[in-house]
Assembly symmetry: D2
Homo-oligomer: 341 residues x 4
């Protein structure tokens, strides 16, 4: 059975596990106060070329989003995002459970546009009843988006400028950041991401780690007593090393970027192949998630041999489907898929 | 200065204050365990003709909505409503602050239609990722709606049936219930409301009381230890009598309905008058809130002598405005307004 | 039936109701933005002799405590108090429901001593694991306390100094402030209270109002967007006038203090009477709550004609009981009680 | 540098890592819906001899406690525990952050006694104001306790019976369960634990895993939609396999118990050694945490070569210290420590 169901269906990239194994018996203090965690932070800071970044290692995307958002907002504030945003749709209400409204705005190709945000803010501020409404307190975007698309540097700069104009911290969910930045379509690197956002996370779970995300505060803006914040939300690992050592490996010798490049190359082969077979694109993604339009009949036939997700029903006969590549995808798998199409 | 700004701009209907005064020096136990509170409940039960109703007196609409919703839902559930719903827009995120998502669906004339709800539920249940989404746990509607409109009995029956089919309790926000049920356009009475909903509240604040709403559970479904629930949310008055005595007065000799009828009559005069003067309707409301389209120039001119709300900007030149009548509106005020138009 | 059960068993002081009546038909904007609310604030500011005080009117004590505490604390902070404190015992977990721990320390006569607080803070700060513990974020006291006792000016000054040394805002629950400050045992006035605390509330519900408390911020420290905070907790009255007009009356011609003096005089008569009858004091209270030790037999006998609270069981035969006076207590009631003893 | 600081200072037991490595490249669905997670549950069920157990894998102790407690309680309920309990002291207020009070009662050797619980419940139920107090909703104990002590079967049976009498689910925090059950002082096995509690967790993090705990519901009492509950609290791993595969290894060929036995043997050697050297016991622990009384001078001297925790200051000259063994402790380390004493 072939699987293109997601980028979290295998364990860790072998080099990541290797590093865990190598450091396994070293005695280290707990709760992120260990030298290995410091080493991992140092590698990320070096990669971005800034030693002022504040970094925290967490175990998963929803956890990271929940903590980032709830620790940045006051009780009466909400987080603005595209209505396709992960926090708006697929986190079982984690943001609301933390007490905050998700203010979902119309997206364009999965992206929140600067103009959409500005119009929303202007309307909010002009509303005489605005004290009775949820105050927009920060902005959430994902990059790549849930549709695999990427902000251009111009788009992200415009959004970042708009955020600053309205006093809104900009938070970027980089669950698949490695895949995004290694796309040929990307005109940004991780330094741009750090420069244009107030906080963002570097996704590990979907990019070669067993588990783990690195949350980065870029303006000295990590809330005070952040350790207590993550502890009380149940997110502080006694052995934080488990996550930080994996990030050490991912940011050694460019492994994180190698993983990204590999998955993108496989994704581009896959895309080409589907187009050649006459499948229409549902979204034009330059990253490791690919979306196609398929007839129900073809979907049913293909499911016998391949795992993949149905993204959305389009009409009685057709649906949008998603195929995802990762560090673990092989040329052989793409070849095998080709034969099945 | 004339005011049609809202239905909460005066104190209480004189008969309500009179009753407070009459009972003022009677010694009563606190926290709603007093005979006056029992008497008020008995009057409401008699009005509805059912002695199985569980009733609780609270001080305001947002408080009542917050408590009703958060006490009925499990942590992972959200409340479905029209996107014009008060809980979705004008409660400073009270529902989200209590941990729950507001699942806002497209409205029609401020109403949530049974078909809209059914389509939403079907899509939710068919979604393979539904465990990662907020589970719809109840339905909120307002009657009259925020646009002054009314559900017909057929519409409410269809919605109620749909709710039951999907296992969703139906909650009706009756902040202006008295005005709604006394509209000539209404084909329901309060017995229908109790029969077709699982819980609802009878609005006092906007219908003649100083403050207060009566939350009614219609299926023996008041959550256990409800006194502790309202206490911990800061909503339990030591002197619950303050609210219950007002409801006693409102439900004595049909005062609540007299108030409703009076305001509706004034509203209909007002509506006719505006139409005669060539103002277009923004929404066709049969209740005490009336919405018109006006030019900015006319709005500015009128504001010098009359208080009213700008509801929404329509374009560069025009806006929707709201005029509200209440138990306190007089024929003289309507006459005076006519002269100003 | 005589009642000394509590100070909230009647409605409002007649002058308070009279003022409500007088202002009843005046048209005013909602949500505390009305001139009557401004007038009430002005009277309180004048009483305290400071025009920089920020004031907010709420409906009850638990609501006020919940909002004061939760709006001043960060998520990982708790509120320190005596273990007899109302927030620790009798609010159905309202503080915890808002997300914060109540850090209860041993009391002395219902009071939190400066030395107890200092020792607790020193131990906390010296603890190597303090990041894993709840951070003390503010201090709560009640004055009079739950046992009717009073802080001396020296004691409150010491506590206030200790709070400042550790960076802890000091919050005073003045549910019965009028009774406390009019006790002959009090060496403070309301100006001292404002000077020595960071925030406090002036109790209305138990001191002559139908309902309502005035929360006062003394250092320009009202959290921003406080209206949204109280709205989202369900505590914003559309007709805030209902509470503020009552405070206007209470702070006109010294009514609030007259009420206090009257109740204290009756309480002292009652205390003397009980002592003369050989009842031991359970707590030596100089305010309107009086605590005695009684045999169960006597309690049972008395209950036939008098309402009062059993405070605590002491042993198989005896219990502590509480008798409370208020603005509504009359000489005749005390006389009648005397005959029953 | 020797370390007896805690049982979480190394990575994973080699056999655990080995199993992760072996299963690393197997393609599996996410979110705990994979066969490897099923396999781990099956092994735990087999170990306990009951196929009706509901099991969920989480990443850490505080997370597990927070989720177990908040998912079992209604909003107005609190969790009862010994005042030494981890949830009461060392979780940065995670329980309160989830909305619930921790009702801490006096402990005996770190244990909550059945008689203490019964007396507390009787007093609560007899209190006329109990609706204004936090309702006890469940009981939390740790086994071994924070002081390394163990409940006897008779004690746990009494506590369990008391819980049932009052309708309180009993929850056991087994962060160090493997060490506890392998102590010669234990007269219970894991089947007894399952029989006498309503839910408990089997600790992985401190007993050989990189991270992870197995939460077990013993009465078919897992709250519905538990996946959504853990997702919204940020605790659902995309790759749940990371934890479940580790538990598979721990419950293969008795590894979990071997780890326990080994650490206990080393702890007993260590205890004997300290006693021989004249150190008094601070607590008489039969498990892998050992507590001694030491002079400050000796502590300071020892700290140059050994990592260990100061547990509590006793007086000016002496403190209680904690030494912890684990699966990773070697005979050589104990020998080396002996030389330093």
């Amino acid at each position: 059975m072939l699987s293109f169901a997601s980028d979290y269906t295998e364990g860790a990239h072998p080099k990541v596990l290797e590093h865990l194994l190598k450091r396994n018996l070293v005695t280290l203090p707990g709760y992120g106060l260990d030298p290995d965690t410091e080493a991992a932070k140092a590698k990320i800071r070096a990669e971005i070329g800034r030693d002022d970044l504040q970094i925290c290692f967490l175990t998963g995307g929803t956890q990271t989003n929940r903590i980032a958002v709830s620790s940045m907002l006051r009780s009466y504030e909400g987080v603005v995002c595209a209505d396709t945003g992960h926090v708006a749709v697929h986190e079982s209400g984690a943001i609301e459970h933390s007490g905050h409204k998700v203010l979902a705005l119309p997206h364009r190709d999965g992206k929140l546009e600067a103009a959409t945000l500005a119009a929303f803010m202007d309307a909010y501020l002009a509303d005489a009843t605005c004290e009775h409404m949820v105050r927009p307190g920060m902005v959430y975007i994902s990059h790549p988006t849930e549709l695999g698309t990427l902000y251009t540097k111009a788009e992200l700069t415009a959004l970042s400028d708009t955020c600053r104009r309205y006093g809104l911290p900009l938070y970027l969910d980089g669950a698949r950041l490695g895949y995004g930045l290694m796309s040929p379509a990307s005109d940004m690197d991780i330094r741009d991401i750090a420069a244009l956002t107030d906080l963002f996370y570097i996704g590990g779970t979907k990019v070669g780690a067993l588990c783990g995300e690195a949350l980065v505060f870029t303006r000295g803006n990590m809330p005070p007593h952040f350790m207590a914040i993550i502890k009380q939300q149940g997110a502080l690992l006694a052995k934080t090393r488990v996550v930080s050592q994996q990030f050490d490996a991912l940011f050694t010798d460019g492994l994180y970027w190698d993983i990204g490049r590999h998955a993108i190359r496989e994704a581009m082969r896959l895309k080409e192949m589907f187009l050649k077979k006459g499948c229409a694109l549902y979204a034009d993604s330059p990253t490791n998630q690919q979306f196609f339009v398929m007839t129900n009949a073809r979907i049913e036939r293909l499911r016998k041999d391949v795992a993949f997700e149905t993204w959305a029903r389009l009409d009685e006969d057709r649906a949008a489907v998603r195929f995802v590549t990762s560090w673990a995808t092989t040329d052989e798998q793409i070849d095998a898929l080709e034969k099945l199409l």
